[in-house]
C-alpha cells in the first residue's frame, strides 16, 4: 500500500563513487555549482533532487553556503520552483542529457510577508546520472548592496565625521553619524558645524526622505547650499526660505527636513528655525527643554517662509540637535520619544558639574537610537566660559 510513496535513491555504493567524482570537479570550480541526484517514485518519475556535492563558494537564495547545501532537497528548500520552466529544464536535462541554459530565473519567496526576488542565471548538465548545476545571482538585491557600499563611501566623502570633540568660536562640539543597521535607510541624514568668516557659527542637522545614492546626493546639495547661504550672511530663516524654493524648483521629488541655527559668540545669542524637523533640546544644569520655532518641511510648498527664534545662552548650556531616528519608534508619538530623550539627558547630566567638559560626552552617550533601522545624526554643542572665546569674535552690535 506504500508503493506509490516509495522513493528510490541510486544504490548507495555507486552513489558515493559518483559523488566523489563530482566533488573533485566541483572543488576547483569558481562561483556556485552543485551536483545533485534525482529522487524517483516507484514509477521512476523524478519527484525531487538531493544535493550531493557543492563548490566551495556555492551560495543559495537563503544565504546557505558550501557544505550547508549538501543533503538539501531542491523542492523542499525552494518550493516555489515546482512547475516553473526551471524545474521543467531540470527534468529535461536528466531525460535527454542535453545541457541547457534556462532563461533567467526569478526566484520569489515571501520573507516577512514581503515578496523577495532574486534573479539567477543557471546552467544545467547531466553528469554521471546526476544533475550538474551552476548559478550566478544577478539581482536587484546585489545591485542594492553595491549601491549601499557606494552610498556609504559617498557619505563619508561628503560628510567626514570628526570622532573627537572639537572647538569652534565659543563652543565645544561633538557629532556622530550612525548609519542604519539595515542599509535600506542609508544616506539621508546630515549635520554641519562650521565657523563662519564673521565669527558666527553655523549649526545644522537635517534629513532627506529616501535612501541610496539619490538621497545622499540631495543631502550633499542641501548641506552645501545651507553652508553657502550662511557664509553669505543669511540668517537661518532666510536660509531655509531660499532652500525651500530651490528644492521645489530643482528637486520636486525630494522632501527634506532641517534645523538651522546660527550662534553669535560675542553675546551668546542663538538664532534658529526648524523646517519639519524635531526641535533641538537645550540642557541647562539638569533641566532640559525644547527650543520650538517650527516651520513646514522643505520641498513641498513653494511659497513657504520661515522665521527665527532667538535665545540668549549661558556658559555651559548644551544644545542637542538630532534626526528623528533617535525618537521615532513604532507605536509611539515623536513627542513621547522626545520626552523620553529629555528625561534620559536630564538623568545623565544630573551627577555632572555644570562646567565639566564631561557633560558633552555624557550627552552623546545618552543619545541612543530608538529605531536602529534608521540612520541617525547627533550634534551636541556646549557653550564655553567667557574668556574662552576664539580669536575671531566680532565686535558686539
Amino acid at each position: 500500500m506504500f508503493e506509490g510513496l516509495m522513493e528510490v535513491l541510486p544504490a548507495a555504493e555507486r552513489l558515493s563513487a559518483s559523488t566523489a567524482r563530482a566533488q573533485v570537479m566541483l572543488d576547483v570550480m569558481p562561483g556556485s555549482a552543485s551536483w545533485s541526484v534525482p529522487i524517483r517514485d516507484a514509477s521512476g518519475t523524478i519527484v525531487d533532487f538531493v544535493i550531493q556535492a557543492v563548490s566551495p563558494e556555492a551560495e543559495d537564495a537563503h544565504g546557505r553556503r558550501g557544505g550547508e547545501l549538501v543533503g538539501l532537497r531542491v523542492r523542499q528548500c525552494y518550493p516555489s520552483v515546482l512547475d516553473t520552466p526551471l524545474w521543467q529544464a531540470h527534468l529535461r536535462v536528466m531525460e535527454t542529457g542535453v545541457s541547457e541554459r534556462p532563461s533567467r530565473y526569478e526566484h520569489v519567496e515571501a520573507a516577512d510577508g514581503v515578496p523577495h526576488r532574486s534573479d539567477y542565471v543557471m546552467r544545467l548538465a547531466r553528469y554521471d546520472d546526476g544533475l550538474l548545476a551552476t548559478w550566478v545571482r544577478d539581482d536587484s538585491e546585489q545591485r542594492l548592496e553595491e549601491e549601499n557600499r557606494f552610498t556609504a563611501h559617498l557619505q563619508k566623502i561628503v560628510m567626514p565625521v570628526q570622532d573627537e570633540p572639537f572647538t569652534l568660536p565659543g563652543l565645544r562640539v561633538a557629532a556622530r553619524y550612525q548609519p542604519a543597521e539595515t542599509a535600506a535607510y542609508l544616506g539621508g541624514d546630515w549635520y554641519q558645524a562650521i565657523g563662519l568668516d564673521d565669527g558666527d557659527v553655523l549649526l545644522a542637522v537635517g534629513d532627506v526622505a529616501g535612501n541610496g545614492v539619490a538621497a545622499a546626493s540631495a543631502m550633499a546639495k542641501l548641506r552645501h547650499a545651507i553652508t553657502g547661504l550662511a557664509f553669505a550672511r543669511h540668517d537661518p530663516a532666510e536660509i531655509l526660505t531660499v532652500l525651500n524654493r530651490l528644492l521645489c524648483k530643482l528637486r520636486p521629488d525630494v522632501l527634506a527636513t532641517a534645523l538651522v541655527a546660527c550662534y553669535h559668540p560675542a553675546d551668546r545669542t542663538l538664532r534658529w528655525t526648524h523646517a519639519g524637523h524635531p526641535p533641538m533640546l537645550l540642557a541647562r544644569g539638569s533641566h532640559v527643554e525644547r527650543l520650538l520655532h517650527p516651520g513646514v518641511l522643505l520641498g513641498v510648498f513653494e511659497d513657504a517662509t520661515y522665521t527665527c527664534g532667538t535665545v540668549r545662552l549661558r556658559p555651559d548650556d548644551l544644545m542637542v540637535m538630532f534626526t528623528d531616528g533617535l525618537i521615532e519608534k513604532r507605536g509611539s508619538d515623536l513627542y513621547e520619544g522626545l520626552d523620553l530623550m529629555s528625561a534620559a539627558l536630564a538623568e545623565a547630566l544630573r551627577p555632572i558639574a555644570p562646567a565639566s567638559q564631561e557633560r558633552l560626552s555624557a550627552v552623546m552617550n545618552a543619545m541612543v537610537p530608538a529605531n536602529a533601522a534608521d540612520d541617525t545624526c547627533v550634534l551636541v554643542t556646549q557653550v564655553t566660559q567667557d574668556g574662552q572665546l576664539g580669536p575671531h569674535v566680532r565686535g558686539a552690535g
Binding site: 516577512d112 514581503v114 522632501l255 523646517a275 519639519g276 518641511l297 507605536g331 508619538d333 515623536l334 513627542y335
Partner: protein
Amino acid sequence: MSDLRLETPAALFTARAAEGAAVVAIRGSFDHTVHALAADFVDKVFAAFGPRLIMDLTGLDLLDSRGTGLIVNCWRRALGEGGRLALVGTERGATRILWITGLTTRIPVYPTVQDALDGLPPRT
C-alpha cells in the same frame, strides 16, 4: 467600483467609494518597508476612483518620512488632477509627524472620515 485591498504583515491598505470620493484607510506601518507596494496601491486607487480622496490614517502605528512623502505626492497629484485630498488623523501617536512637519498647515485634516467627507467641496 469594487473595493481595493492590499495586505502585508506590517500594513493593511483598503479603498472604498463613499459619497463621490475614495476612502483610503491605512493601518499598521506606513514606512519604507511598504513604500513601493503602497505607491502601486495609490496608482490603482487613482485609476479606480479618481482624484477625490480621503486618507484615513487613524489606524497607523508608524508613519515615517517615506510614508509622509507618499502622502505629499498623493496630495499634489489629487490637486493636479482637479481633485482633493483630505486626511483623517489626530495630533498624537503616529500621525503627530503631520503636525511636526507642518503639513497640516496646508493639507486639511479631520478627526473622522465623516467630517472629512463633509468637508470636501462639492464636485464641480
